[in-house]
Amino acid sequence: MIDWSGYVGLMLQGALVTIELTLMGSVLALFMAFLAGLGRLSRFFAVRALATAYIEFFRGTSIFVQLFWAYFVLPLLGIELTPLQAGVLALGLNVGAYGAEVVRGAVRSIGKEQYEACVALNLGRWQGMRHVILPQAFLLMLPTFGNNAIELLKATSIVSLISLADLTFQAQVVRAQTGNTLVPFTAILIGYFALAMILSWGVRSLERRLSRGIDGVRV
């Protein structure tokens, strides 16, 4: 029979790469989401146009194409990235473009009356944004951000195309080396699901913590 014990270590290494990609990609995505999302709400046309171009481009093209570009085409233009950097870049920029729309939607959905209260209290634009609008909007963004993070986790499975040894890739290796398909694929299905559950649990508990009091429950 096949000795699975060694391959378990291989799969765990893959899981580690997947987690790494997910975390670093999420950080980049979060940063881009706020940058572009607030950029789209800017008073200045140039900033709005730039943000819109970024969002539409990265939402418009397939993430595969973006990944191939980051890995195979950028070096031709003189920008050399390691596979991990290319993966984080493509995933982060892609998911960040979706997140930007979430940021924009949440900020815009804060009622007009909150902005007016800020004016009536003579808060400046940025003060109002920072202390009144964003704290409320962030709470609205959280659930969707959670979903985006899971999307990002799932999207990491395609980095095997640029020879990054993530969870899916290692499953392919194990499959080639052992000739068994069922075991590695079942294992990674469960692995991805477990990671997704952890993510959504984390976001939910953060949401619970931040919303304490706002919904009328005694703190």
Binding site: G60, V65, Q66, F68, V102, I150, T168, T181, L189, A196
Partner: protein, 208 residues
């Protein structure tokens, strides 16, 4: 590039069939999850969450390479369409749920006060109000599905991306075919953005 055009055809066919399946699967999931019978609602909810929480790529491998062990042998395109339809069905289910939940409670109550039955309430009051606002959100997912069709290359469907790779391999050039494919996706997506904005104007905002 006639091979690329062949790929475009397959990509579009897979998207259309996948969308139709996702629309139907989503409605079934949404209704089953609303069931008052927990033995129905709970397992359906779990399966939907599981499908939604795992990568489509791995699911495609499962459908194509593992189901035959259990006697289910699907042609590549059909396997791809089923994979896309099931995966995106779990997303559209959420759209249906939100659409139905967004009909104000007062409408259910008014229907009851008018003594309408359950079927009458669904047909005449709830669905006519719930469906138009969800059209843009559904369209959104179908566009997303379109962009994920390159995954089908893993199960030997010769869609656009696979054709492009073939071309790239023959000439050892990645830049041109990949850029062409990128441009194609971008053009289609920009068209769909226009379509989506129009749908939004006509039917209301997309729920993110």
């Amino acid at each position: 590039m006639p091979t690329l055009i062949e790929g475009v055809k397959i990509t579009i066919l897979a998207t259309i069939l996948g969308s139709a399946l996702a629309a139907a699967v989503g409605l079934v999931i949404a209704l089953l999850r609303r069931s008052s019978n927990r033995l129905v609602a709970r397992p359906v909810a779990f399966v939907a969450e599981f499908i939604r929480g795992t990568p489509l790529l791995v699911q495609l491998y499962f459908i194509f390479y593992i189901l035959p062990d259990f006697g289910i042998l699907l042609p590549p395109l059909l396997a791809g369409v089923i994979g896309l339809g099931l995966h995106y069905g779990t997303y559209t289910a959420e759209v249906y749920r939100a659409g139905i939940d967004n009909v104000p409670r007062g409408q259910w109550e008014a229907a009851k006060a008018c003594n309408l039955g359950a079927r009458q309430t669904w047909m005449h009051i709830i669905l006519p109000q719930a469906i138009p606002p969800m059209i843009p959100a559904l369209a959104n997912y179908f566009i997303a599905m379109f962009k994920e069709t390159p995954l089908l290359s893993a199960i030997t469907v010769l869609e656009l991306m696979n054709q492009a790779k073939s071309v790239a391999n023959t000439y050892y050039r990645y830049l041109e075919p990949m850029t062409l494919v990128g441009a194609f996706f971008l053009v289609i997506s920009l068209f769909s953005v226009v379509l989506l904005r129009w749908l939004e104007r006509r039917y209301g905002r997309v729920e993110n």
